[in-house]
């Protein structure tokens, strides 16, 4: 009994994530050793040793459930791996801990108020673990015998013989069971389960030992092993659902289909309150566990003052997730006010945060990152080309250098080469401008562009 239960528990929601090659698809984890020290190059992470260590400490606390309702801020220059660290934390947390990732600008929508969008993001990051327990009879059908009454009408009776590798038994069948067995087209050699409480029959497949019973068989015929152990077993399955999912199915105006269409609209606060109290009740009865997850808000400086004060309040809730924010701004105006503040975040919120700083990468690290990206994108590159690309990365930006990898490989393929060479890099470098060269170009030829007289006022229009 124990072993099957354990397996079942682990099986929960192991859906392999299929990901396209994205900017951070090479990241598998934080790359820390057992003592939480960062290995210089590991699991797709390079450098940022201090920041990764700090993230690792926070991660351990999350795993142990020691912190809830805390927030941390990853601050650093553009292209220093802030999002990468957050992604690594998500990877390291595993599938059981809910992780929601949003960009700061995502909450500004016409269909939903800002606070509603934030609340939904918060509730998506809180999991509720519940257990389902069913008593089932599982076995291979040895024989079904159905006796029809001679008169033609009246109740049918029958017998069902089931076996596992260890035992065999006969069940007397009533009218209802016979009907559902015929409906499921159960025959000798099938592996079936019967839910004891509801009497629901599920066909799992055909037994391997019966594989040669017929020559011709439908392609959908599935063969399974004859079950082991006892016939009647207790099956326990643990599920983790998020509070938001429960909200959605209980919000009466939309059915659970809203979960899939993605457009959930606003959820009434009464619904949320009811669910909160129900979950609290389950917790009291030992029926549910709260799994505080992680909410990651990228570009957090895009939030305005109302959102910040909402965050302040929401973090005090006893079911708050761990909030991780990232920003690349220095001292700047808080959105929605005329006040300046570090990172564009009000001081009172900043005070609650654990701040992790990322530092610019050095040349060796940039080279390493470019190498990892080449592997991730299946691009072969000569050492010289990599050195040149690293130089470009140092002078312009890491992102620009990474973007050149794919285009360079396309140029290389066009000339039917197998490895990206220095010439390919040079060619794409002249084809695509980086940010500083583009600025340079604009400065030189500004007069020839349209509306150039507005350039003086454009600065004040940018943020409103």
């Amino acid at each position: 009994m124990a072993a099957p239960t354990v397996e079942k528990v682990q099986e929960v929601r192991e859906v392999t994530r299929i990901e396209r090659i994205g900017a951070h698809s090479h990241i598998r984890g934080l790359g820390l050793d057992d003592a939480l020290d960062a290995r210089n190059v590991s699991q797709g992470m390079v450098g940022q040793v201090d920041a990764r260590r700090a993230a690792g400490v926070i991660l351990e606390m999350i795993k142990e459930g020691k912190i809830a309702g805390r927030a941390c801020l990853i601050a650093g220059h553009p292209g220093t791996g802030k999002t990468a660290i957050a992604m690594a934390m998500a990877q390291a947390l595993g599938t059981d801990t809910p992780f929601t990732s949003i960009a700061g600008s995502e909450i500004f929508s016409l269909e939903m108020s800002k606070t509603e969008a934030l609340t939904q993001a918060f509730r998506k990051s809180i999991g509720v673990r519940i257990k389902e327990e069913t008593e089932i009879i599982e076995g291979e059908v040895v024989e079904i015998q159905i006796d029809r009454p001679a008169t033609g009408t009246g109740a049918k009776v029958g017998k069902l013989t089931l076996k596992t590798t260890e035992m065999e038994t006969i069940y007397d069948l009533g009218q209802k069971m016979i009907e559902s067995l015929t409906k499921e087209k159960v025959q000798a050699g099938d592996i079936i389960t019967i839910d004891k409480a509801t009497g629901k029959i599920t066909k799992l497949g055909r037994s391997f030992t019966r594989a040669r019973d017929y020559d011709a068989m439908g392609a959908q015929t599935k063969f399974v092993q004859c079950p082991e152990g006892e016939l009647q077993k207790r099956k326990e399955v643990v599920h983790t659902v998020t509070l938001h999912e429960i909200d959605v199915i209980n919000s009466r105006t939309q059915g659970f289909l809203a979960l899939f269409s993605g457009d959930t609209g606003e959820i009434k606060s009464e619904v949320r309150e009811q669910i909160n109290s129900k979950v609290a009740e389950w917790r009291e009865e030992g029926k549910a566990e709260i799994v505080p997850g992680v909410l990651f808000v990228d570009e957090v400086h895009m939030l305005d003052i109302e959102c910040f004060s909402f965050l302040n309040r929401a973090l005090e809730d006893d079911m708050a997730p761990i909030l991780i924010m990232a920003t690349n701004r220095g001292i700047t105006r808080i959105r929605g006010t005329n006040y300046q503040s570090p990172h564009g975040i009000p001081i009172d919120l900043l005070d609650r945060l654990l701040i992790i700083a990322t530092t610019p990468y050095d040349e060796k690290e940039i080279k390493q990152i470019l190498k990892i990206r080449c592997e991730e994108e299946d691009v072969e590159m000569t050492d010289d080309a990599l050195t040149v690309l690293t130089k470009i990365g140092m002078e312009t930006s890491l992102r620009y250098a990474i973007q050149l990898i794919t285009v360079a490989s396309l140029v290389c393929r066009k000339r039917k080469g197998s490895e990206v060479d220095v010439d390919d890099i040079k060619r794409v470098y002249s084809l695509f401008l980086d940010e500083s060269r583009s600025t340079q170009f604009l400065k030189e030829y500004q007069e020839e562009f349209m509306f150039n007289e507005m350039s003086g006022t454009a600065q004040s229009m940018e943020t409103s």
Partner: protein, 127 residues
């Protein structure tokens, strides 16, 4: 010194694992008994003719009145159910302890009480 410690540790794991395996066997045996008892009760209740039936105790057959036999079997049957529940209840801490010794994490949600049928139905769409 270290070898001794290691040996001790391994022995501890083996002992616990052995214990779990024997528990599992016991549960299979109990279920086997349970199914056979159930079959016997069914057969007895279907049989309308005879007043007495043969019952085997150890290696001796004794003829007993049908009603008495049925009562005996039913008592056995109920006893078996609780016995199986007991064994499976005892298994959980053992498995957890074994995982602990093997430095694995506890199985998540192992200690939870199960949801009732209505409650599961309410969230079924999510599972």
């Amino acid at each position: 010194m270290e070898t001794e410690q290691l040996l001790y540790h391994l022995a501890e794991i083996e002992e616990l694992a052995e214990d779990i395996i024997s528990d599992k066997h016991q549960m299979v045996e109990l279920d086997k008994k349970r199914q056979k008892t159930r079959e016997a009760i069914r057969l007895l209740s279907k049989d309308k003719k005879s007043q007495k039936t043969w019952v085997c105790f150890g290696n001796m057959f004794i003829k007993l009145p049908k009603e008495d036999t049925k009562k005996l079997l039913e008592k056995d049957f109920n006893g078996l159910d609780t016995e199986i529940a007991d064994v499976s209840k005892g298994l959980k801490p053992k498995v957890n302890k074994l995982r602990d010794l093997e430095h694995k994490e506890d199985v998540k949600g192992f200690g939870l009480n199960a949801m009732s049928r209505d409650e599961i139905q309410a969230v079924e769409a999510l599972l």
